[in-house]
């Protein structure tokens, strides 16, 4: 089907990259199966931790923590897992920085291909594999926690959620690419990466929901691009975004994606001009 649709267009070669990468990902069956089967474990442990917090003797017992109830929290993390499945790009920044540092970028620069789209397809293939496995392993997990999934999203919330997942994916790809490009200037960026990734983990709301922080901080932090990698998709689907807010939330998300696109283009242009192609 894709052949009929894309062959002859410039998108076709990127489809072939995606398909080749998917095949490569599936070459190691045991690794793939273990990853597929146990991917949900961190979700279960996180839910268990919050369950323990809400049931601890020291807890006031109001059933709320800030604006969040236990069902809110469980739903939040379940959706966070889905959202991060779109926005997290494991290894992308590191791979790009190593390509630059070790001169492996050469092989892409000489071919009629965009390195950015190559990397994007490479990651998209990884995501496809992830979701293929998730389709099997997620339903039982969601079934187990079904009694906590209290909120029934409206049509607007569903639409907003799917749009927010697109924003999440692009924010993840563009931000990872941008940070990887820092290697054009600094060569060794592993420590820098660690700091940025930790910050991203926290500011995306992956560690704790952002709205549990003091409101003065939330007021600013929620509009940073990181919030679009997890926090906003969760908030939309658990019904914490009012219909009149939806446009603003998604609009700012798209604005960030646009800003990142421009920054990626500029960084690539300036970076490749100073690229020293060592070792390659």
């Amino acid at each position: 089907m894709m052949e009929a649709l894309l062959k002859g267009t410039s998108a076709w070669k990127y489809w072939v990259i995606l398909s080749t990468r998917t095949q490569e990902d599936m070459a190691y069956r045991a690794n793939y199966m273990v990853g597929a089967l146990f991917r949900f474990l961190p979700l279960l442990t996180t839910i268990y931790l919050w369950y323990a917090v809400f049931n601890s003797p020291g807890y006031a017992g109001s059933g709320r923590m800030g604006k969040m109830t236990l069902p809110d929290i469980v739903s939040y993390y379940a959706i966070m897992f889905v959202a991060r499945g779109f926005s997290s790009m494991p290894g992308m920044t590191r791979d790009i920085s190593l390509d630059i540092k070790d001169g492996l970028l050469n092989r892409y620069l000489i071919r009629p291909i965009s390195y950015f789209w190559y990397q994007t397809m490479y990651r998209l293939a990884h995501k496809l594999i992830f979701w293929l496995a998730a389709l099997i392993t997620f339903p039982p997990v969601f079934y187990l926690i079904r009694e906590y999934l209290k909120h029934s999203p409206t049509v607007l919330e569903w639409v907003g959620f799917f749009i927010s997942l697109i924003i999440a994916f692009w924010t993840g790809v563009l931000f990872s690419f941008l940070i990887g490009c820092l290697a054009f200037w600094f060569l060794e960026i592993s420590t820098f990466l660690f700091v940025i990734m930790t910050m991203e983990f926290f500011l995306s709301g992956h560690l704790i929901p952002l709205n549990l922080m003091p409101s003065a901080i939330v007021h600013y932090v929620q509009w940073l691009p990181f919030a679009y990698e997890g926090y906003w998709p969760c908030m939309i689907l658990i019904g914490k975004v009012q219909p009149d807010q939806m446009g603003t939330v998604l609009g700012i998300g798209f604005l960030w994606v646009g800003i990142f696109f421009v920054l990626v283009k500029l960084c690539w242009k300036w970076g490749t001009q100073r690229y020293s192609a060592v070792g390659g």
Binding site: W12, K13, V16, I17, T20, Q23, E24, A27, Y28, L104, L105, N106, R107, L109, I110, R111, P112, I113, T272, Q273, R274, Y275, S276, A277, G280
Partner: protein, 329 residues
């Protein structure tokens, strides 16, 4: 217009200079010293369509940097270059579809998949039509004897087999310009010979313009009529391989087989430098202009079964050229 035109091409790298030891490392944390390295210095040359030119120089001479600029990987500090009428570092797809750069052992093959998948990917990247792909693939896998290996995982191939597939991957789109950087590095003599013959045949058949760097003089001798020599980033020589021999080799070698033994090293040393002297065989290094005279004298003095006059090995001459370029740099 020439296929490759390089004019006053210069590339200066800024490199960090660190003092030795831990003290130097601490000092470098606060104060960095940089020094400029002229990897390519004011180099100019032209290469016509279909030429196969050897690009020679010792390590660090600037060969690879020049190739990287010609393939658009690097921006030059100054100077111009036109390949097929394009400025390489503008990286236009139209240009990138017409050239290929093969760097020894730097693979574009996907390790965890059979080579045929990477080749197919290249076909699509370069937009090669199906029938042409099939034809070129058939031809080249036949020529390089790797047809049976198309379905084998790349990580399970030998170095020589991988190099062959690298070449095929780079040539699928039948480039008009081929830049080869050490294509036989690390290969055994048989694989070297195979690759060499393939390049020669390919150049002959397709009239592709080829610029080749290699440390193996066997490659250069077998393939190139013309060579460009650079050292310390500067062009030092540009001309026929035979011209190098004429210009830099003042001697020839006379190999002798005597009918009877008894000719000593001392006897022969009056004619030139004695390189070998066994019971019945000897090799003499004699000044080029004295070869005829010395040969006659030896033939008159001893009973000689066989006499052979050869050029000094090209490696030795090139070594001399490099040393000579060192003193001029």
């Amino acid at each position: 217009m020439s296929t490759i035109e390089v004019e006053n091409l210069t590339k200066i790298y800024r490199v960090n200079k660190k003092k030795p030891g831990i003290g130097g490392a601490i000092e470098a944390m606060f104060k960095r010293e940089y020094t400029e390295v002229r990897a390519v210095n004011d180099v100019s040359f032209k290469i016509e369509e279909g030429e196969l030119v050897g690009f020679l120089g010792p390590n660090g001479a600037g060969k690879t940097t020049t190739l990287k600029m010609l393939s658009g990987i690097l921006y030059p500090t100054s100077g111009t270059a036109k390949v097929l009428g394009f400025t390489p570092w503008e990286r236009k797809n139209e240009y990138r579809r017409q050239f290929a750069l093969v760097m020894g052992q730097k693979n574009q093959l996907w390790w965890d998949l059979p080579a045929q998948e990477s080749l197919y990917l290249n076909k699509e990247i370069y937009n090669v039509p199906d029938d042409e792909y099939k034809k070129v693939l058939d031809e080249m896998t036949e020529l390089l004897q790797v047809k049976k290996l198309l379905g084998v995982m790349v990580r399970e191939l030998s170095l020589g087999e991988r190099m062959k597939f690298e070449l095929i991957a780079s040539l699928l789109h039948t480039p008009r310009v081929l830049l080869l950087d050490e294509p036989t590095i690390g290969l055994d003599v048989v694989a070297q010979k195979n690759i060499r013959e393939f390049i020669k045949e390919y150049n002959h058949r397709t009239k592709t313009t080829i610029l080749l760097t290699s440390h193996y003089m066997g490659d250069i001798q077998a393939l190139c009529d013309r060579v460009i020599i650079i050292n310390h980033g500067k062009k030092f020589f540009d001309g026929g391989l035979n011209d190098i021999i004429g210009k830099f080799s003042a001697s020839k070698l006379i190999s002798l087989t005597f009918e009877n033994g008894g000719v000593s090293k001392e006897d022969l040393s009056q004619f030139g430098e004695v390189l070998e002297c066994e019971k019945l065989k000897a090799v003499l290094k004699v000044k080029r202009e004295e070869v005829t005279k010395v040969s006659n004298q030896i033939l008159e003095k001893w009973s000689v079964l066989d006499i052979n006059i050869e050029e000094v090995p090209i490696e030795e001459i090139i070594q001399k050229v490099f040393v000579s370029s060192e003193t001029q740099a």
